[in-house]
């Protein structure tokens, strides 16, 4: 299998991932706590898992829609770029809880976050974290973000209501 290679150097995309991950984790640690430790872990992991699912579905064969970072093979920096979704999802749940969004305003909140996500992805694409292939564009990502963020809202409600129930 042929490995697609865009770059060999440790440059902007790697620094972007490491710095944003570092800042994200610092913010999680120093923001006033709103969730229990378990909930914090779950909200963090929710983002990481979502990143893994979509990136390992859309960026692997049979059709590679985008290549993450320098090469199409899985690298350590790819792993960090997935972990980068963790602080992102945590802030999503944090703000949702902080602002205490009513269900009827959830759709507005989802739309705002979909735009924020597209904005961040655009930056990532410019600096070489994502390399689109086979006609994939950021507009497809927008639809995916709308779906994912909607699922997160549902997930938040489930955790809030049933999180402490034993099964």
């Amino acid at each position: 299998m042929q490995v697609i290679c865009y770059d060999h150097h440790f440059n902007t995309n790697e620094w972007f991932i490491l710095i944003s991950l570092f800042i994200g984790i610092l913010m999680i640690l120093f923001l006033p706590k709103r969730f229990s430790k378990k909930e914090t872990c779950v909200f963090f992991m929710c983002g990481v898992f979502t990143g893994f699912v979509f990136d390992h579905t859309l960026s692997v064969l049979p059709v590679i829609y985008y290549v993450i970072n320098d090469r199409s093979s899985f690298e350590l920096m790819d792993f960090f770029s997935h972990v980068m979704y963790g602080p992102f999802s945590y802030f999503f749940f944090y703000l949702y809880d902080l602002i205490n969004i009513k269900p009827r305003f959830s759709l507005v909140y989802i739309l705002v976050w979909a735009f924020v996500s597209v904005g961040i992805e655009k930056i990532c694409e410019r600096i070489g974290v994502f390399h689109y292939e086979h006609g994939y564009t950021i507009y497809y990502s927008f639809v995916i973000y709308l779906m994912v963020v909607s699922l997160w809202v549902f997930f938040y409600r489930v955790i809030n209501k049933y999180g402490d129930n034993q099964y």
Binding site: M1, V3, P32, K33, R34, F35, S36, K37, K38, E39, C41, V42, M45, C46, V48, F49, F52, V53, H56, T57, V60, L61, P62, S72, S73, F74, F79, H82, D97, V158, I159, Y162, G163, D164, N165, Q166, Y167
Partner: protein, 159 residues
């Protein structure tokens, strides 16, 4: 056909998971599912794309079948094994059930091989057995840590 077979298998695993009392809270189950999912996806990708020890099929039906394996079949069976290991059953029964689930995972590997979903290049059933066995025990240890995470914590959140 393999897509339907694996969907049926996944459904059976979900039925067992829904019936068996796990003894875990929803928040713990979700955390474990995320963790096991990430672990499974990473191992699959490294073995397939990087090392090419276990290349996956590139057919569309086969790929969808493998998504079912990666996201439902394997994670939920590992989750079941973790629940068994964490349960209050006698040690003998816990390890027996653990070995049964392990045997099922290895048998499913045979099924993937038979259907041409995967092929073993520098890999064999024994390595699979070891990988599943070690990952279950690892997840069990992480579960023990995670369950004890909030113990003794008074509600310190600023809600």
């Amino acid at each position: 056909m393999i897509l339907a077979v694996l969907a049926l298998l996944a459904w059976l695993v979900l039925i067992v998971f829904a019936i068996v009392p796990t003894g875990l809270k929803l928040v713990e189950i979700l955390f474990l599912y995320f963790l096991i999912g990430i672990f499974t996806i990473t191992i699959f990708t490294i073995l397939d794309v990087n090392l090419q020890w276990v290349p996956l099929t590139r057919s569309v039906e086969g790929s969808f079948a493998m998504y079912i394996c990666r996201f439902i079949l394997i994670p939920f069976q590992i989750l079941l094994a973790v629940c068994v290991l964490y349960s209050h059953l006698r040690a003998k029964w816990r390890w027996l059930l653990y070995l049964t689930i392990l045997a099922f995972l290895c048998l499913e590997d045979r099924l993937y091989l038979w259907a041409g979903l995967i092929s073993f290049q520098k890999w064999n059933e024994f390595y699979s057995f070891l990988m599943y066995g070690v990952s279950m025990v690892l997840m069990w240890w992480i579960t023990r840590w995670f369950i004890g995470l909030d113990k003794g914590e008074v509600n310190k959140t600023c809600k």
